[in-house]
Amino acid sequence: MEYRNIWTMAETHEGRLKDVSYELLSRGRALADKLEEHLVSVVIGNDVDKEQINELILRGADKVLVVESENLNDFIVENYSNLVVDLIQKRKPNIILAAATANGRTFMPHVAMRLHTGLTADCTELDIEKETKNLLQTRPAIGGNILATIKTPNHRPQMATVRPKSSKPLETDESRTGEVEIIEFDESLVDGRVKKLASEYSKDSGLNIHGADIVVAGGKGMKKGENFAILKELADKLGGVIGASRDAVDRGWAVYPQQVGLSGKTVTPKLYIAVGISGAIQHLAGMKTSEIIISINIDPEAEIFKVSDFGIVGDLFEVVPLLNKKLQEEVK
């Protein structure tokens, strides 16, 4: 059997599909059209919202494979990997895309190793090579200093994880139709060695800087933790969340899940506002692919201004409160 079709691995959390599931479809759609192959979204979870599953079709999928089981309620990598390997061996997809999230970056290398195929991590661009029809996968490396384009010429499937927020979901098209196939989950695929004992998911998504469209980040220039209150006010007004530089996290002004940069998270929001952040190369690595970057810093020589679309050289303790005040007036 020939390897055909593009699969995108939808990501579920507590029975809901995460936004990135739809972002992957817009990537997959472009590839499927170029190759004239089908786009299939694979949903793994338990009791997943039916309307959302249908939305996968409206947003680009030709077909959806749904695998549900109580045993798939929790992300246990061994179970996911067993299941995905089994599906791949039976159906032979040509390309598999998953989100470059904590879970995607865990099960994809597990699967790729077992199938002896290539996997490219955290891609920001995908294309098809004209002559060979191979998938071209482009990703930043060495702290974002280079962009490497990688392919898997002789192994199948071709696998990639894709940076969340690096593409937009397609608009829903109510005229689209497609099949939803329910796949019986073979309980023998449950590994059972690892158990999830508990979880502590933050109620507000404030710590989920990966999933946010707007990140307002503070650095050493904030001077103390209490001062993050003005950033919180700004983030709330714009509908964003708080991020931080390594300096701010190491000083205890913010927590590690908020850290942006080489030893923290890489984010690609629509808008990144850097406040009191000088822009060390390690920080830039985590945010320079943001769509729009705004920075506020007292030092006109700060590196952050070079990567900014808009910058204010000034005292953040004057600029941010005034900005908050004026934004308040705008709302009125």
């Binding site: 992300f75 879970n103 597990h110 490396a141 384009t149 990688i150 590690y256 030893s263 190369i281 600029v319």
Partner: protein, 265 residues
């Protein structure tokens, strides 16, 4: 508790310079260091050994000069280091690297836990840890931020993901990859440095392990690099200096206009 920690030697990226002609990294004069994210694995490994006994073995696959990284880890408090080096390994991608490291770990044997950094700061893939676990059929925990409990045959860990934390109970042996939050790496001591100097580092080459030749190095790697570019970083945006009160007012007004033009507000 016997622990094996695969580490990587990487260029000190804060000083990285790119060749504007070729778009490749200028490696000359760039210092090589232990991947900063591996230091958290080394630290927690040493802490586990101090609490539960056993020993910590660091391993690295790389050129002979990667010995320095092993010596540094021993200076911090690891017991042994093994260099896995062979010209045949050159050009390995994550698959081939994990294959060799997996076989090396098999050869070393007698371990309870494999600890790895979340990813290396040069390649940035975070794949080799999960790859090794898959290859050795070891249970895998990634992005581990805390170790809550260790018994003779299990470990309870906290895993950091986008939505928060999860608590996992894993059997031993397992492989876990750790994030910065798990520990604060210690500095090497003078005594540690002396010990590192005295410690012999055994060398594992391809012929010391049971490896299939066609799975090694560039030939054994499923992926190929097609091209490398230096992305344009500078955006040349509008920068306004708020040097007095009027300019402050104006700069904030302009910023609001900018936000409107981008349909943020």
């Amino acid at each position: 508790m016997n622990i094996i920690i695969p580490i990587k030697q990487v260029p000190e990226t804060s000083n990285v310079k790119m060749d504007p002609e070729t778009g490749t990294m200028i490696r000359e004069g760039v210092e090589s260091i232990i991947n900063p994210l591996d230091l958290y694995a080394i630290e927690i490994g040493i802490q586990l050994k101090e609490e539960h006994g056993g020993k910590v073995t660091v391993i690295t696959m790389g050129p002979p000069k990667a010995e320095k990284a092993l010596k540094e880890a021993i200076a911090m408090g690891c017991d042994d280091g093994i260099l896995i080096s062979d010209r045949k390994f050159a050009g390995s991608d994550t698959w081939s690297t994990a294959y060799v490291l997996g076989e090396a770990i098999k050869k070393i044997g007698n371990y309870d836990l494999i600890l790895a950094g979340e990813r290396a700061t040069d390649g940035d893939t975070g794949q080799v840890g999960p790859n090794i676990a898959a290859y050795l059929n070891l249970t895998l925990g990634t992005y581990i931020s805390r170790i809550d409990e260790v018994t003779s045959d299990s470990i309870v860990v906290e895993r950091l993901l986008e939505e928060g934390y999860e608590k996992l109970q894993m059997p031993l042996p397992s492989l876990i990859t750790v994030v910065k939050e798990i520990s604060y790496p210690r500095l090497p001591t003078l005594r540690g440095k002396q010990k590192a100097r005295m410690t012999d580092l055994p060398l594992l080459t391809a012929s010391d392990m049971e490896l299939e030749e066609e799975l090694l190095g560039l030939n054994g790697s499923p992926t190929r690099v097609v091209k490398i570019e230096s992305p344009k970083v500078t955006r040349g945006g509008t920068i306004i200096t708020a040097k007095d009160e009027d300019m402050l007012e104006e700069s904030v007004d302009k910023l609001i206009e900018f936000l409107k033009s981008k349909e943020i507000i």
